[in-house]
């Protein structure tokens, strides 16, 4: 790291806002994925003006820069793959404006997702996208990855809730796209920038929509003795046009992992559970819940439990949202995928995942957004054994190939990042990838912002993939 650059950064941000010692940097070399890449320095801007100056320095010294929120991402999107400067937004965490009547908020990128919802709770509003890591993850990170969450089934993903952005381009200009009002004439740049995985610009301000909280909520837990029955239930709920607010599935293996930690009352001998939620008007919720229970029974649910009160509901959701943490207790390392499939293919897909797991000698756990067809198969492996890691990747790749074969996609909410770049040619032709590259290069002409992401680098995975390190007893593992 150029010491002149460090001095300039320190004089810009103050000494407590620049990290460059190896023992500090090691904390920023990973995110929630299995990827590792260490930055050369970490900086903490407190304003848009800081970010502009940081970008100017990166250009002057010709070093890569990458944005980071809370580092809960699951695809290596916020890692400094080619080194350089990691720009951490945790100190740009102000809610700048809340407009209750118009259901808008203006926030800085470092605002924690659930903090925004909490700050408008008194007015009966919330911010709808709710990734399972919502107590830690930031809105800026959510915007970069177009984050989802269990309730996006009914309420939509981040892109559906972002109206405008303030951007610091990798060339240093500050540009606003979208706005508080709808329908800005021109191309929908806001729509394009949400989910661009931090490869187009730094996001320094976000205008979001706030959603009215439902007056009634019912949460159901349906218990099944066969995985097929659970998946067939999801197929029928979807086909009947019942849109629950959330429809999550945990298979038996995951249930046992979670129950050992959270004690939510999931039956340990069951093959699968569905966690279903309906919300809306009081008059609508009751019959809605009854219809869902009826479909569950039709598909041989052993039991359909309705949470009696808010406390019971919270416990069920705690189990779901902390599931990946629970898995972290079982194994030093795990690999999770994020493929999406048409929901009609759920039963066949779960069967196929089991077969693929067996072929490679793994028991694959499944805990996922069933209502969206967004899978999260979990493969436990020991990273100290290189052959295991390779087999885990092979298992996962075969699952992804299946997803694409049945009409699906590679990633539903985690992003491509540095983890799935090599899979992109499975879905996109070279022409298509080239057009996307040219879009990126138009905004990011020198390639200094978040290099080495999304697009296959042309090298085999073994050559560029950095081996994961074993992390012992991670009680607070990243969640999804």
């Amino acid at each position: 790291m150029d010491s002149k650059l460090l001095r300039e950064l320190e004089s810009l941000l103050g000494p407590g806002s620049v990290l460059h010692k190896p023992e500090d940097l090691i904390l920023y070399e990973y995110d929630g994925s299995v990827e590792i890449a260490r930055p050369d320095c970490v900086v903490f801007p407190r304003s848009t003006a800081h970010v502009v100056k940081i970008v100017e320095l990166a250009n002057r010294f010709q070093i890569p820069m990458v944005g980071r929120g809370a580092g809960t991402g699951l695809s290596g999107g916020a890692l400094a793959r080619l080194g350089g400067m990691q720009v951490v937004f945790s100190r740009m965490n102000q809610i700048l404006e809340i407009d209750i009547e118009n259901q808008r908020a203006v926030v800085q990128p470092g605002v924690v997702n659930s903090d925004l919802s909490r700050s408008v709770e008194h007015a009966g509003l919330h911010y709808a996208p709710d990734p399972s890591s919502q107590k830690a993850c930031t809105i800026g990170g959510n915007v970069s990855e177009n984050a989802g969450g269990p309730h996006t089934l009914a309420y939509g993903v981040t892109a559906n809730h972002v109206l405008g952005l303030e951007l610091v381009m990798p060339t240093g200009e500050v540009i606003r796209v979208g706005g508080k009002a709808l329908d800005s004439p021109g191309y929908d740049l806001t729509g394009l920038f949400v989910g661009s995985e931090g490869t187009f610009a730094f996001v320094t301000e976000i205008i979001v929509k706030l959603t009215r909280s439902p007056e009634a909520v019912k949460t159901l837990l349906a218990v099944f003795d066969r995985v097929d029955d659970a998946t067939e239930t999801v197929v029928e709920i979807t086909a009947r046009g019942i849109t629950p607010a959330a429809c999550e599935m945990l298979d038996g293996w995951t249930i046992r992992a979670v129950e050992a930690w959270v004690h939510a009352g999931f039956p340990l001998d069951s093959a699968a559970v569905l966690l279903l939620e309906v919300d809306g008007l009081r008059e609508a919720v009751e019959p809605h819940a009854d219809e869902i229970a009826e479909v569950c029974k039709l598909h041989h649910a052993r039991e359909v439990r309705v949470a009696r009160d808010a406390k019971e509901r919270e416990l069920l959701w705690k189990a779901r949202k902390n599931a990946f943490g629970a898995v972290g207790r079982l194994s030093p390392t795990y690999y999770t995928q994020d493929g999406v499939i048409p929901r009609t293919k759920l039963p066949a897909t779960l069967r196929r995942i089991e077969e693929i797991g067996k072929k490679y000698g793994f028991e694959v756990g499944n805990i996922f957004h069933a209502g969206d067809g967004n899978l999260h198969p979990i493969i436990l492996f020991d990273a100290r054994d290189p052959t295991q890691f390779e087999r885990a990747v092979a298992t996962s790749d075969e699952i992804i190939k299946w997803c694409i074969e049945v009409g699906g996609a590679i990633t539903g909410e985690h992003g491509v990042g540095m983890e799935k770049d090599r899979l992109m040619p499975l879905l996109f032709s070279e022409d298509e990838l080239n057009l996307m590259r040219r879009v990126r290069d138009a905004f990011n002409p020198r390639g200094l912002l978040n290099p080495g992401k999304i697009f296959p680098s042309g090298k085999g995975c073994g050559e560029i993939r950095i081996r994961p390190l074993p992390v012992k007893g991670a009680d607070v593992a990243p969640t999804t």
Partner: protein
């Protein structure tokens, strides 16, 4: 004879077949855009043929405009150059429909009404109740991103288009997104295509999320002596737990046009009954659900209307509702046919500022002696139709001055304005897109990436893109 006139018909005929080449002047007149007539129109059957057409255009520097039923081809500035129309109406198939997954993939030229009837067989629909519904194609609807009353509940195309296939200005067949309801694989290039009026590529396929069709719906109407009461009621509904599927506020003049019987196709749609007042400001909303839910909406909406000092309010059943909502859907075409120089300005603002904005628009219309009909969507959009009785030079000048004032005043409402429909003569006086903003530089970059030779719908979009 220009190069284009010499080479276009022959080469185009080779690509699509002589039968699907339109070259005679009378038929070509129907492809005119703001008075500019192309040398030829091609009616390709496949995406491959479109690739060839665009490559031909790129090689020969011909300007092409993709189109469908041509109901919204007036949206945009006059083309800088226009040699070839690419008519997509023969690409009209449903390519994939998985009712169980509520997903759909269709070719761009499929008529919307045909598609809705396919979906209806499975009790599903797309929330695209767009104007010119009987003719409009999916491609044109998405390329112009016209909004509909249903955006209140369902949002706009960007909220339910899952992916797209399109042909770039270099003739490269490409896609983005997929046909699954949740997906972050690669950049969402299809979001750029929505509303880009054919300036970035030729859309050949669109994938959608479909929606279950509500079984029972009702309409709710509240009548007010002035606009303020209607907007107060909008605020009360927005702050309540009710989730209405449409919410429109109409000026008395707009209500009169909506309920006017004429000989045109939209003008002869069934008329609303006597219950429909044309002398009030009206808030019209729709809702659906089971009997108890319908009861709850009725009680709450009626109470809120009283609290907002409505003169009267009523709930109408599904059968009656259809007549009014059919006409609300066609409000813009009805307004267009009500004046020879009808000019429709679309504005957006924060919902709480709608009333203020409408008052200012009325004032501007009065100052310029222009009859005006206004309606607002509850989400924060206003359509202001300026309807001079003649299309002479004086009317155009007054329209130009009024539109200039509207553009000038919209920033004070945190708002945006553009003019989707107006006479071609007015486009010589004003830019229908208003002034560009600092994000224009980014838009230019996108145009250069997607259409480096500048051959697609050239000069028609924001800032001359």
């Amino acid at each position: 004879m220009t190069t284009a006139a010499r080479i276009v018909p022959d080469r185009v005929g080779e690509i699509v077949g002589a039968e699907f080449l339109v070259a005679d002047p009378a038929r070509l007149a129907t492809y005119e855009v703001d008075g500019v007539r192309p040398c030829a129109a091609a009616r390709p059957e496949t995406a491959e043929q479109i690739v060839e057409l665009v490559r031909l255009a790129a090689a020969e520097k011909l300007a092409a405009i993709p189109c469908g039923a041509r109901t919204k081809l007036r949206i945009g500035m006059p083309p800088r150059k226009y040699d070839l129309a690419i008519d997509l109406t023969r690409l009209n198939r449903v390519l994939a429909y998985d009712p169980g997954d509520l997903t759909l993939g269709v070719e761009a030229g499929i008529p919307l009404c045909k598609l809705q009837s396919v979906l209806a067989e499975h009790d599903q629909f797309l929330p695209l109740a767009v104007p010119f519904f009987q003719q409009a194609t999916i491609g044109g609807t998405i390329a112009t991103n016209v909004d509909t009353p249903l955006r209140q509940l369902y949002g706009t195309a960007r909220d339910y288009v899952l992916g797209m296939e399109f042909i770039s200005g270099e003739g490269v067949r490409t896609k983005s997104g997929a046909r699954v309801v949740k997906n972050v694989t690669g950049y969402d290039l299809h979001k750029l295509m929505i509303g880009s009026i054919g300036t970035l590529g030729v859309i050949t396929r669109v994938n959608f999320k479909t929606f279950p069709r509500p079984h029972v719906s009702r309409g709710f109407l509240a009548y007010f002596a002035d606009a303020a009461g209607a907007f107060e009621l909008r605020g009360r509904i927005a702050a309540s737990p009710l989730a209405v599927s449409t919410l429109e506020i109409l000026s008395p003049q707009a209500a009169q046009i909506v309920a006017r019987n004429t000989s045109s196709e939209v003008g002869s749609l069934p008329l609303p009954g006597e219950w429909f007042s044309t002398s009030h400001w009206i808030l019209a909303a729709a809702f659906s659900g089971n009997e108890r839910v319908l009861g709850r909406y009725t009680t709450d909406l009626t109470r809120m209307a009283e609290e907002s000092h409505a003169e009267n309010s009523l709930v109408i059943g599904d059968a009656e509702r259809h007549s009014l909502w059919g006409r609300l859907r066609e409000a813009l075409p009805l307004m267009l046919e009500s004046s020879p120089a009808a000019t429709i300005v679309r504005l957006s603002t924060l919902p709480t500022r709608l009333g203020e904005m409408i008052a200012r628009l009325q004032q501007i219309a009065e100052q310029h002696e222009l009859p005006a009909a206004l309606f607002a969507r509850g989400v924060g959009v206003v359509y202001c139709a300026l309807l001079p009785p003649s299309s002479g030079g004086e009317a155009i000048r007054r329209l130009a001055r009024a539109c200039g004032k509207i553009f000038e005043s919209s920033p004070s409402f945190d708002g945006r304005a553009m003019i989707p429909w107006c006479p071609a003569a007015l486009k010589r006086e004003i830019n229908i897109w208003g002034a560009t903003r600092d994000d224009f530089a980014l838009m230019q970059k996108m145009k250069t990436v997607f259409d480096p030779h500048g051959i697609l719908s050239t000069g028609r979009f924001v800032g001359g893109l």
